[in-house]
């Protein structure tokens, strides 16, 4: 019985962990893009 629980836990923990990692990565990347965009805007303003 315990083995059954363990096996299914492995599955669900694995899937959820992976999905959560991806979501966090996505958020981090989105934030980084905003940073970079504003950096580019600033230097554009400086140039002109």
């Amino acid at each position: 019985m315990n083995w059954l629980v363990a096996a299914y836990s492995v599955f669900f923990i694995g899937i959820f962990a992976y999905t959560l990692m991806m979501s966090r990565k996505q958020k981090d990347l989105d934030r980084r893009i905003e940073e970079l965009r504003s950096l580019i805007k600033e230097s554009d303003l400086h140039d002109s």
Binding site: V10, I15, T19, K25, L29, I33, L36, L39
Partner: protein
């Protein structure tokens, strides 16, 4: 986003599958309730194989079209394939112990599944050690094609090897005399897994595209 819909669908699919596995399917005579691991274990194995197939097709497409979009699909599918293959191996081990008292045996199925896992990981590692994108994509594509062709040959070899030197077969009565209800439960589970794979792939592809966008902007900023 379309992927969100698929996400919801796969969640519903999973719930249905759980119902099918724990409520609908009958208890197996010899192994008892532990046997219910079978449905997710086999589905994970099949999805791992399917993910590899996607890597194969995308690799060919990349070599023909030179479009990095195909390379992206291949790489993301490989990663998700490793996930499914790992789950497959882990559930296999957790099934073997209570049934046979051993953690592992080199029977045909487990050996092949381990090999699939190793090929996936080799594919990913190869990509990690090459810098230039187009070159990396081409080399990974070539390896992806060679590796996938290797799988059916391995299947035959390991099968023959094991008929000559039999060892305890983990999936004992599987395939031989499956109850019709069990078949249905298995099919429901496999459908749910397919939805899950599609959702994960979509999600992973989105992250990868954003990653490439970030790298593009980084280059832009650094060149100023």
């Amino acid at each position: 986003m379309a992927n969100r819909t698929i996400g919801v669908a796969s969640l519903l699919g999973m719930l249905t599958a759980l119902w099918a596995v724990f409520v609908y399917a009958p208890t197996e005579a010899t192994m008892g309730i532990v046997q219910r691991i079978f449905y997710f274990h086999v589905s994970a194995a099949l999805m791992g194989f399917f993910a590899f197939f996607v890597v194969f097709v995308s690799s060919i497409a990349f070599l023909l079209k030179r479009d990095l979009a195909w390379d992206r699909i291949a790489r993301c599918s490989a990663e998700i394939g490793v996930l499914f293959a790992s789950i497959n191996l882990a559930t296999g081990i957790l099934w073997a112990k209570p049934i046979w008292g051993i953690w592992w045996t080199w029977d045909a199925r487990l050996t092949l599944q381990l090999l699939l896992w190793i090929l996936f990981v080799s594919y990913i590692m190869l990509g990690a050690y090459i810098a230039e994108p187009m070159k990396r994509a081409a080399l990974q594509a070539v390896f992806g094609i060679l590796a996938f062709i290797d799988v059916p040959i391995n299947f035959m070899a390991i099968r023959w090897w094991r008929t000559q030197h039999p060892s305890p077969v983990i999936l004992g009565g599987e395939g031989s005399g499956l109850d019709i209800d069990m078949y249905i439960a298995l099919i429901i589970t496999m459908a749910a897994f397919m939805l899950l794979y599609t959702y994960l792939l979509g999600h992973r592809l989105a992250v990868e595209r954003t990653q490439e966008e970030v790298e593009y902007f980084e280059q832009l900023v650094h060149s100023q």
